[in-house]
Each structure stands twice: as C-alpha cells, then as structure tokens.
C-alpha cells in the first residue's frame, strides 16, 4: 500500500500513548483513592470528546487541519505530564476530562487529514493505520504494567507524553495540499426518523451499549480495590483483551460471507460480553479474569464488526453518516452509562453493577433475536 512510512509513525505513537498512559487512567485513579463517582467520570471522559467534535470541525475553517490536530496533541501531552504529578483524585479526574476533550480532535480530524493526503486510497490507509495503532498499543500495554510496577505510573506517563509529541511533530510535517472534501452532512436524527430498521438497530445498540459501558467503573474498582491486582497483572489483562479483539476481527472477516452469519457474529458478541460480566461477578480470580478478557475482546470485535459491515453495506446512506450516527450514540451512552454504573456501585456494590449490566445486555439480545433479524432485508 502506497503511504509514506513516516506517516505510519503517527498511529504507532498514538497506540503507544494509549498503552502507556490513557488506558491506565481509571487504574491510577483507583490507586489514588478515587471514589466510584470520580472513576465513573473518568470512564465517561473518552466520550466527552465526541461532544466537542463540531467545535474541532468548525475550527478547521480558521486553522490548517494539521496545525489544529498537532496543537491539540501537544496540549494533550502537557496534560499527561501534569497527570503524572497529580496526587489528588479530583484534580486527576478534571485533568483526564481535559485530556479527552483535547484528544477528541484525533477521532474527528485525523481521518479527515488522511483523506486529504491520500484521497481515494484514504479508506484503506485509515484501516491499515488503525491496525498499526492496535498492534503498538497491544505490544506496549503488556509491558507498561511491568514498568509501572517497577518505576511507578509517572515513568509510563512521561513515555506516553513523549510518544504524543512524536505524533504531533509528524502531523505538523504533513502540510495538506489538497482541498478537504465538501461533505454535505446528513442530519443523523433524520436517518433515525426516516428509517425504522436503523432506529431498531440503534435502540438495540443503545440498550446493549448501556449495559457494557455501565461496567467500566466496576472493572478497575474490582481489580485494584477488591482483588488488589498489581499493575503488571492489569497490563496483561489489557493486552489479552486487545489481542483477542484483533484476532476476533480477523476471524469475523473470514467467517462472515452472508447476512445470517453476520447475525450469528452479533449474537456471539453479546453472549461473550455477558459471559465476561458473569465471570467478573461470580469467579473473579486472576486466571478467570484472563478468560473474561478473551470473551470481552471477542465481544467488542463482533459488535464493532457488525456496525462496520452494516455501514459499508447499506445502500441508503453514506458510510460517514452511519459512522457518525454510531459515534454520536456511543458518545451519548458513554457519558451517562458509566455514571449510572458508579451510582449502582455506591448504592449496592460492584456485583450489583455487573448483574444490572448482564440484565440489560440479555434484554438487548432477546430484542435482537426476536425482532432484529430483518435489518438487512429490503
């Protein structure tokens, strides 16, 4: 594939930052003594960035896209450095929220930058770059926990900030020569309103996704506060999850050749997430948590593969519009679901959180199996 090798350093560096720092934000917060509510806010923060997507897009009319992207990334690296020194859970939480607001620029502007640089090859190059990001994340996250165990999270956060600076420098070097495509966006609410099948699919994703995201604060609380797992062990769990996700995605792309098989994939995905939640609830020993994270990776990969295939097979709407719809609804549930999760933890404990999630995902599965299997029919 024809892309500049130096361009590939950008997603690789972003993957390194994610594996060295951002994925551990909730874990570090739990170590600092953050309560479930603050951990809920930290879990919601990656989705907070979605709310700022229109702002980042509108700024490109005033600032060149690569400069805006690099500036947000440089500021993000400063925030990670500040996080390395923060000992107060509240300030840590606020800084994490600021970091993800800044990092929201990545999801919005990086595909747009690649689009300008590579025009019709962009779709394939974005997919390849995302694979490189996943690989660098997976390799470093396993190691990151060990480094944290020896030298503390300050060291890995420094390394993560440095990787972001590298990404920013290489983005700055990419002066866009072409024009950004004049993309007349479709109102995503209109899509839901005029297409009952999409409304049905979005509702199923909303219910299942709420259940999944509600678990986000429970996982670090269980791993750090209840099971007292070391950072190295938690890093291995992240790595297992990521490897399972990558292998799962590869497996689905080979398996799915027909619509019924796509439905099987989604069903397996929801069952895998339920299995993972049940393991965290009833048999939370380290070996079983590794198994649970394998299920989690399989589940996440199948659900994202399902939406991706739906987006690139739907003849009624642009792929970008369907992806925006997914990002928007993920953003909405990503903000409220972890907070609901943290409320359940505060009121009834970690187990109750996992069980509530299981009930919601099971409900979404039943709705899908009973009414959702005609989504692909014309």
């Amino acid at each position: 594939m024809n892309y500049k090798k130096s361009d590939a350093l950008v997603p690789v560096s972003i993957g390194l930052t994610q594996g060295l720092a951002t994925v551990f934000f909730t874990v570090v917060a739990a170590h600092l003594g953050a309560n479930p509510f603050l951990i809920g806010i930290i879990s919601s923060s990656p989705y907070l960035g979605n709310l700022f997507a229109p702002l980042w897009s509108s700024l490109t009319e005033k600032i060149k896209i690569n400069k805006e992207l690099a500036t947000a990334i440089f500021l993000g690296s400063i925030v990670i450095l500040l996080l390395a020194f923060t000992r107060t859970p509240l300030i840590f939480t606020i800084l994490v929220a600021i970091y993800f607001i800044l990092f929201g620029v990545w999801d919005v502007l990086y595909p747009a930058l690649v689009d300008i640089l590579y025009s019709e090859l962009a779709v394939k190059i974005i997919a390849r770059f995302d694979e490189l990001r996943s690989i660098s994340y997976t390799l470093i996250v396993a190691l990151s926990g060990f480094i944290m165990g020896f030298w503390g999270h300050r060291t890995t956060f420094f390394m993560g900030a440095a990787a972001l600076v590298v990404a920013g420098i290489f983005i700055l070097r990419n002066e866009p020569k072409g024009e950004e495509e004049n993309l007349e966006k479709t109102n995503i609410i209109t899509i839901i309103r005029e297409d009952p099948d999409i409304l049905k699919l979005v509702s199923i994703f909303m219910i299942a996704g709420t259940g999944m995201l509600m678990m986000l604060p429970a996982i670090p609380i269980l791993e750090v506060n209840v099971l007292k797992l070391s950072d190295a062990k938690i890093g291995v769990l992240f790595a297992v999850n990521s490897v399972s996700y990558i292998l799962g995605t590869e497996m689905w792309s080979r398996y799915v050749k027909s619509v019924p098989r796509l439905y099987v994939t989604f069903t397996i995905g929801l069952i895998s997430i339920i299995t993972m939640a049940l393991i965290y609830t009833f048999i939370p020993n380290y070996l079983m948590l590794i198994v649970a994270n394998i299920f989690c990776g399989i589940g996440e990969s199948s659900i994202s593969f399902f939406w991706q295939t739906f987006s690139i097979s739907n003849p009624d709407y642009r792929t970008e519009d369907l992806s925006s719809l997914h990002l928007f609804t993920c953003g909405v549930r990503g903000i409220y679901a972890p907070l609901i999760g943290s409320l359940i933890i505060t009121a009834y404990g970690v187990k109750a959180n996992f069980i509530s999630s299981v009930v919601l995902i099971l409900f979404a599965l039943i709705v899908f199996l009973t009414t959702g299997r005609d989504i692909f029919e014309d």
């Binding site: 003849p315 709407y317 642009r318």
Partner: protein, 91 residues
C-alpha cells in the same frame, strides 16, 4: 445477486478506481430509477442496490470513495465534485 462480467473481472484483480468506475457505469446502464421519499432509488433486477439524491446524468458520475465489505463493494458517487449517491456492487 449481480451477474455481470465486469464484476467477475473486478473481483479477480486488485481493485483500481478506473476498473471500479467502468464497472459502476456498466451497472448503472442496467439499473432502474424509482423515485421514493425525496430520493431516487436504484434497483437492479427488482432489488435495491443504491440511491441518488437527485437526478443527474448517470454517465457523468464518478466514484469518490469505496469500501470493500463481506457482501461486495459500496461505492460513493459524486457529480461535479459533490456527493450524488451510493451504488452497491454485490459479489
């Protein structure tokens, strides 16, 4: 299922924009245009395979983007540099 020579040729080699565009034009010659809810639906042998947002000369459409999926290739079509519609090329 679309049964066109150009589709068989398209999937037997690495996909190029030129090859894709030529196949899109072959298929567009055979689709029916049906107006429905402010859109023009493209049907091939009675099956929905895409849409146009307005009536434009079909031979002037260009492929601006494409995605390869398990069921075929989704092409996004442009007219005068603006998004004009979608055509699915089914395997």
């Amino acid at each position: 299922m679309m049964d066109e020579v150009c589709i068989r040729e398209l999937f037997s080699h690495p996909i190029t924009i030129e090859g894709l565009e030529s196949c899109v034009h072959e298929i567009l010659k055979k689709v029916e245009l049906v107006e429905r809810r402010r859109k023009i639906i493209l049907t091939y042998k009675g099956r929905k395979v895409g849409h146009l947002i307005e009536r434009v000369p079909l031979d002037s459409l260009k492929v601006s983007k494409y995605w390869e999926g398990p069921f075929g290739i989704k092409t996004e079509l442009s007219y005068n540099g603006h998004f004009a519609g979608v055509l699915m090329i089914e395997k």
